[in-house]
């Protein structure tokens, strides 16, 4: 859907929010329909949808200390997509390279394939060949990624897709991407609603979990598959490498503010969502005021990092500044006799 004119076209950061709230109001009143979304709004919604999925999955990845596996998975996704694409090409109806890439069938097959390949090959190296775990993970995913890049470049005779894979192309998002991200978010919501207890128990105390009959390894594979699925949904927006920040950053941010699991999950969604919306606005602002187009996805990642460091410094209980003053305060207070 190409709009005649983007309502955000000339807004600086303050005007941006003005336009956004105005349009929100129009939507509520029924004057605006969802098909009239501006590209900036699609970007914001896609990012927020991503934040939602990644909050749930990322929190457990961080708690399970499986973030490096997630990183590995994010890389092998490329190979998964290429293979799925090659397998399905005879069956796909129309051309359009990039849109075929994203069709749902490709997505499902690609995520299952990638998840399977990564975990199986790594496990074979670790258990059969007795290779140390860090080297196994590193070797498997870089090799599979290399294979993916070579195949993509040869197959499409174009390296662009390869670089787009790891950085995304957020400016080219359209309503189909939004529906994809939305579906994945919904899927994750449903899964986590049902499996929350299972994931929590298996993550916190896998031995106890297996003693009461929880299929711990299946739950792990399940999380890996969900990670792969979310990764692919993020493929177009931010690319496979930057999606890692969505998985890892928010739980770290949230952990500074809370010691409990449910608030952690909530904050892991809210904080990056705020950052994402702010980033899209900021990106527009820089474009309009300084005439400089920049990568919104790169900006989002940087804003996450900035927010994390601000939290580390200024958070209520655990922030560096706060603890500094607490210690000073204790020294100044006279000892109670």
């Amino acid at each position: 859907m190409i709009l005649a004119a983007n309502p955000y076209r000339d807004s600086d950061i303050f005007q941006f929010f003005g336009v956004m709230l105005n349009r929100l109001w129009q939507l509520v009143q029924g004057n605006l329909s969802l098909t009239d979304l501006a590209s900036d709004e699609i970007q914001m919604l896609v990012l927020v949808g991503l934040c939602f999925s990644s909050a749930l999955i990322g929190a457990f990845l961080v708690l399970k200390k499986m973030t490096m596996m997630a990183n590995a998975l994010c890389h092998t996704i490329l190979l998964g997509i290429v293979i799925a694409f090659i397998l399905l090409k005879p069956f796909s109806l129309e051309g359009g390279l990039v849109s075929s890439f994203l069709s749902l069938k490709v997505l499902i097959i690609a995520s299952l394939l990638s998840g399977l390949l990564t975990t199986v090959l790594t496990q074979i190296l670790v258990q059969v060949a007795k290779v140390q775990e860090d080297a196994s993970i590193g070797l498997v995913f870089t090799s599979l990624f290399a294979l993916g890049v070579v195949l993509v470049t040869l197959y499409t005779k174009n390296l662009h897709i390869g670089t787009e894979a790891i950085m995304g192309n957020i400016d080219a998002l359209d309503i189909d991407d939004l529906s994809l991200v939305g579906s994945v978010a919904l899927l994750n919501l449903v899964v986590f609603f049902f499996f929350f207890r299972g994931f929590t128990t298996a993550t916190f105390d896998p031995l106890f979990a297996s003693s009461i009959g929880l299929p711990v390894s299946w739950l792990n594979y399940f999380i890996m598959v969900l990670t792969a699925g979310t990764c692919i949904a993020a493929f177009r927006a931010v690319g496979v490498l930057l999606v890692l920040t969505f998985f890892v950053g928010p739980p770290l941010m949230a952990r500074v503010l809370t010691d409990k699991l449910k608030p952690l999950l909530l904050l892991s969604f809210v904080l990056p969502a705020i950052c994402s919306i702010f980033s899209v606005a900021l990106s527009r602002h820089i474009l309009v005021v300084y005439q400089t187009p920049i990568s919104t996805s790169g900006l989002v990642v940087c804003v996450f990092a900035v927010m994390y460091f601000l939290l580390l410094l200024f958070a209520p209980k655990k922030g560096v500044v706060n603890q500094f003053f607490q210690r000073k305060f204790q020294k100044v207070l006279p000892k109670v006799g």
């Binding site: 140390q132 890049v149 790169g298 990092a305």
Partner: protein, 439 residues
């Protein structure tokens, strides 16, 4: 164009990429040995991504002052990448130690945040200075095609620096890895060694990313070193073999990235060098994992086959000994030992060739040397049964274990058992234990 192998070293367009690749991959494979042995491979992944903003910033700032093809420019960009990676390292350390972030989360956070920063900075010049942007992007997957002769010198020097550091600190590195406590007791300052190793790792990464690319750098640190570890236990040879594999991968990767488009009649296509180099290195690593003389999977499988065959041979000898005098036919051997006729034949032939069997009228029996051998096996079997009963097992449950252990016990273990059990004469089933030497 159809290039010959020699062309790669002499042609003015090809020689810089070729030699440059070789030198770059050589440094990363040498540093990789240390990284892999210390189990820090994933740190390499983080540090290589952390260098990206340095590159982007370097190109953006410096291209205004230098011409992108000047020598100073290349060195300056490498310097920026180096600093950027070091900052990443410090941040990882800070997060892990001061803020109690788990190791993997700190690595992944720095990895992706720095990378995002690099993407942001690079996007600044994406539309305005397309040529510079292409330079920056080249570092993602590795692109050596634009290298000049001067780069050969630069990378040769850097390789020399890396190599010298390793040689100079060799003994300290060795002690750090294998016997830190001893080293500390003789006064070696390991903090300094650790810092130098860190410096070395970052240097090797920054050197390598031009040919291997940021994304694949971690693999290049791992693959040659891992392959080398399969082939040797000595640290010296590990470095040597890793270096050879690295250099070879550097050359072949570069070679393929030039020649494959040619063979596919798509000369306009530029294949990035990084993936090709890594695929070559991984392939070599796979070969090493499968076929290495000691640890290779295929070698091990063959050894198991041999061992099982040996067990079958020894079982036949044992059975013949118990059956003294009568002699057995091939058919009886086959059914007793649960072997097919053809395999039984092979085994009989093997035993005969070792001089352990005599054959009269198609009936086989033990020769005198065969008897000695058979007695040894029976002795081990019955000693083991006695030992297990001594440990508390029930008499009727020890046979199965003895069936297995009689093929495994070494003379040394046999002596220990004999001593422990006081040179016994009878096993738990009251059968005589043959003396040592087979009387």
């Amino acid at each position: 164009m159809n290039y010959s192998l020699v062309d790669f070293f002499t042609d003015p367009v090809l020689r810089a990429p070729t030699l440059g690749s070789i030198f770059m991959c050589l440094s990363s494979s040498l540093a990789g040995v240390i990284v892999v042995i210390r189990k820090r491979s994933l740190l390499g992944e983080s540090l290589s991504h952390a260098s990206y903003p340095g590159i982007a910033l370097g190109v953006t700032l410096l291209a205004s002052f230098f011409s992108p093809s000047s020598d100073g420019f290349a060195i300056a960009v490498l310097f920026c990448a180096f600093i950027s990676s070091l900052v990443g390292m410090l941040l990882i350390d800070l997060l892990q130690k001061r803020f109690s972030v788990k190791d993997d989360a700190a690595l992944c956070f720095v990895l992706s945040s720095f990378f995002g920063l690099g993407v942001l900075i690079a996007s600044r010049i994406q539309t305005t200075h397309a040529l510079w942007y292409k330079q920056v992007q080249g570092f993602l997957y590795g692109q050596t095609a634009t290298m000049q002769d001067i780069h050969i010198v630069i990378y040769a020097v850097l390789l020399l620096v890396t190599g010298s550091l390793i040689v100079l600190l060799y003994r300290d590195i060795q002690m750090l890895i294998f016997d830190k406590a001893f080293g500390q007791s003789i006064g070696i300052n390991f903090r300094l060694v650790e810092i130098v190793i860190l410096f070395l790792t970052v240097l090797a990464i920054v050197i390598g990313i031009r040919s291997v690319g940021i994304v694949m750098m971690a693999g290049m640190l791992i693959a040659p070193a891992l392959a080398a570890r399969q082939l040797t236990q000595s640290l010296k040879f590990t470095f040597l073999i890793s270096g050879i594999i690295g250099a070879l991968s550097g050359f072949l990767g570069n070679y393929f990235s030039v020649m494959i488009p040619y063979y596919l009649h798509a000369e306009k296509l530029s294949l990035p060098t990084g993936p090709m180099i890594l695929l070559v290195a991984s392939f070599i690593c796979l070969l090493a994992l499968l076929f290495a003389p000691q640890k290779g999977l295929i070698t091990r499988m063959m050894r198991v086959v041999k061992f099982r065959r040996n067990c079958q041979l020894e079982n036949i000898l044992k059975a013949l000994w118990k059956d003294l005098g009568r002699g057995v036919t091939l058919k009886e051997v086959s059914s007793m030992q649960n072997l097919s006729l053809s395999i039984a034949l092979l085994r009989i032939r093997k035993l005969s060739s070792k001089g352990w069997l005599d054959c009269t009228n198609k009936r086989y029996c033990l020769s005198s040397s065969g008897e000695v051998k058979a007695r040894e096996i029976v002795r081990l079997h019955r000693l083991w049964e006695l030992y297990l009963v001594h440990l508390g097992a029930a008499k009727d449950k020890v046979h199965a274990s003895a069936e297995e252990m009689e093929h495994v016990l070494t003379p040394d273990l046999e002596k220990q058992l004999t001593d422990l059990l006081n040179d016994p004469l009878k096993d738990p089933h009251d059968q005589p234990i043959p003396h040592k030497g087979g009387k």
